[in-house]
Amino acid sequence: MSCISIASGKGGVGKSVLCANLGVVLSERGYRVTIVDADIEGSTQGLLFGYEDAHPTLHDFLSGRAAPEEIVRSLTPTLSVVFGSVQLTALLRELDLERLGQLTSLLERSSDLVLVDCPPGLEEDTRAAVRASGAVLLVLNPDIPSVAGALKMKILARKAGKQTAGAVVNRVGGEYDIPAEELETILGEKVLGTIREDPLVRSSVVEGTPLVSSHPEAPASNDIKRLAHRLAEKLIQHK
């Protein structure tokens, strides 16, 4: 389980932001983490880390124009990121999505954990990202459309022969939120963490610095740290 897809089925639930912040926290705890921005048509990791013009990117590797070692950017001694292209010139059909699996296999050799930021939806790019991972971490918001999306992602993972690593409920705190214990029951998944809605997330995106670094004491930062702790425990148990 050293390669985990951060996936949702439904877009806009906050999985890219979660992926970036989880990567930072776990790397600060000493894990060698590599984030792969596999959201081919909506890459945002560059924006989240303040590397909008990163080059070459995952797209260059998937189109055969760059070698794996050229696209892995070390941000700290324990955190690396494979950024995606923010240009809309890369067409999905021009990319060999199966190379994603080759890349994650390579990265797993030099990382304790590879986090794959999945595309939204259930199309071929998402399926390729799930196939390239060992397990799927479901991210959802506490509402019905998001629950349906998470269930569909579970179905996709099962069909791909991948296990699910639990669920994370993001943006909690609304009046009509579905409680975590109800989500656990309907999903048949352990909720590993709930992350509060936090306006500072938006500020951190604008700053190009993940929330846990820019606002380490923010409520959502504390929630993400707790989640990272539980995820780390799971990783240790798995090893």
């Binding site: 509402d143 019905i144 459309p145 998001s146 629950v147 349906a148 269930l151 569909k152 579970k154 179905i155 099962r158 009046e175 009509y176 579905i178 409680p179 109800e182 029951t185 309907i186 048949g188």
Partner: protein
Amino acid sequence: MATIMVVDDEEDILILLKRLLGSRGHRVITVRDGREALRRMKEEKPDLVLLDIMMPGLSGYQLCKIIKQSSDTRSTTVAMLSAKSMDEDKVRALEDSGADWYFTKPIDTRRFAESVEWLLRNPPKRG
């Protein structure tokens, strides 16, 4: 006190839920098929409908869709209660039929009663 309609063709379930939810102070109406449920909904105006899926005549999926498409009944909270436990069944209920929640049989009565209270208090909103 809320009015809860239970629609199921299994007598045991109707008795169990009438006793369980009735003991919590709710008025429980038990109905054995979909057509009767639609007729009784107009009279009783339940706050919550608990629907089995596999019933003779109208299935729970079909009945839920009718309830959610009618301007008279669409605001009523509908939860499926079924032995069908596949994720595909849940997606079909929540997305295609417009159900507000999904319970899988067999139920843990204590947890189920708490979930029903949650649904009555704060039914989930759709985005």
